[in-house]
Symmetry: C2
Subunit: 209 residues, 2 copies
DNA sequence: ATAAATATGGATTATCCAGTCCAAAACAGT
DNA sequence: ACTGTTTTGGACTGGATAATCCATATTTAT
């Protein structure tokens, strides 16, 4: 009766249908944005009817929230196992290459799957803003965790603040996504990440450069 | 007869009306995005009728292009005279403070006036993407110009690439805008810019740090 | 097997909104 | 003043689309 809940009161079949809807909506939103994604398109892509869509989601807004969560999980999963152990300069460089590779494969399209949604909805949908923030924080937190490990190990100087460095690196990532999307070239992403990684490298105990 | 042209064949009165429409649309788009901005709202805010709007713009798309140009000019103008002479570390730091101050005054709302539009339209409106790219490049070019002057003066080491540094700094700026908008806190913008400025400072001939 | 809950089909509605149309008014040049 | 151009008013249309509704099928539990 309460369709907004995610897991309970759903048979396996129902859960599968729900997932199909979310996945279809996520794909559509990724390449067209929230406002330009019509529920008719989502229904067609997922192969469901109106009543199914509204059985699992109260309205478009609720579906968008589910999409944000879905994309957050997808991002975290796509970057494992690297993202779980960003605790050395080589690991950070490898992670950089992974992200650049993904964007290359996407032809620089779409930008950040949740950042784009955040940008579109931040001023008009407070709840969506909160969900995007939670997703971004999980991502950023993984980076911070790695840097913290580096510092605890003595690879980063004691004065280096893992939280600040992670935030700065993450901002460079997001800006790189945007510029890469608008320019249709991965270079902004590469240059931004490299610059921030160099900055982090300069704070290592035994500077490589 | 050709309403897409900007300046010619318009009486002063006509130009004023056109500007009123663009300004109203720009304000609305800044805080709601393109798709969520209805032309009815624009008409009401500008105090014009349908025939006026369509007299000066072929369609919504054409109006959006004019808004992108308008916002580009506004950004450049708002950052003068600092933006025109970013040729020293103190100047760069002052510029950082100016931008952070602007976002503070805006309560962290809206993000980058053209970057947000780019994010929303990059995949669905190629022409808008091009216009946004042109605007971003003008902005980024001003930064690059300052860094180039620094290098020519010997304040930056010869190996430092002004174009790369400007691109990296600009990406940090855009990412900072986005995170600041989603978090409703200027800290991401501050941290991202400071980190990139520190990185630039580390490439000066006589390192201050 | 039967009843209750869950899942699905698809037509329908009510609203919003981009864009059109037919004028009329204001203005410019002569 | 006269004529053509520019500017303006505002009703109207066609289409898209989020959301509703009622009926039917399928599954689950006892």
């Amino acid at each position: 009766m309460k369709p907004s809940q995610a897991s309970t009161e759903l048979t396996p079949k129902g859960m599968a249908t729900r997932e199909r809807i979310v996945a279809a909506a996520a794909a559509e939103i990724f390449e067209r944005g929230v406002a330009r994604t019509s529920l008719d398109e989502v229904k067609a892509a997922a192969g469901v009817s109106s009543s199914q869509l509204y059985h699992y989601f109260a309205d478009k807004h609720a579906l968008v929230l589910a999409v944000i969560e879905h994309q957050t999980e997808a991002i975290i999963a796509a970057q494992q196992p690297l993202l779980g152990a960003l605790d050395s300069l080589p690991a950070l460089r490898a992670w950089r290459d992974l992200i650049v590779g993904i964007q290359t494969r996407l032809d620089c399209r779409g930008g950040c799957p949740i950042g784009s949604i955040g940008s579109e909805l931040a001023e008009t949908d407070p709840e969506a803003r909160t969900f995007v923030l939670a997703g971004l924080n999980r991502w950023q937190g993984a980076i911070e965790q790695g840097l913290r490990t580096m510092r605890d190990r003595g690879e980063l100087r004691a004065e280096a603040d893992p939280e600040e460095l992670a935030l700065a690196l993450f901002a460079a990532l997001q800006g790189g996504f945007l510029l890469t999307q608008v320019e249709r070239d991965t270079r902004p992403l590469e240059v931004a990440l490299d610059a921030m990684l160099d900055h982090i490298a300069s704070m290592t105990a035994t500077p490589a450069a």
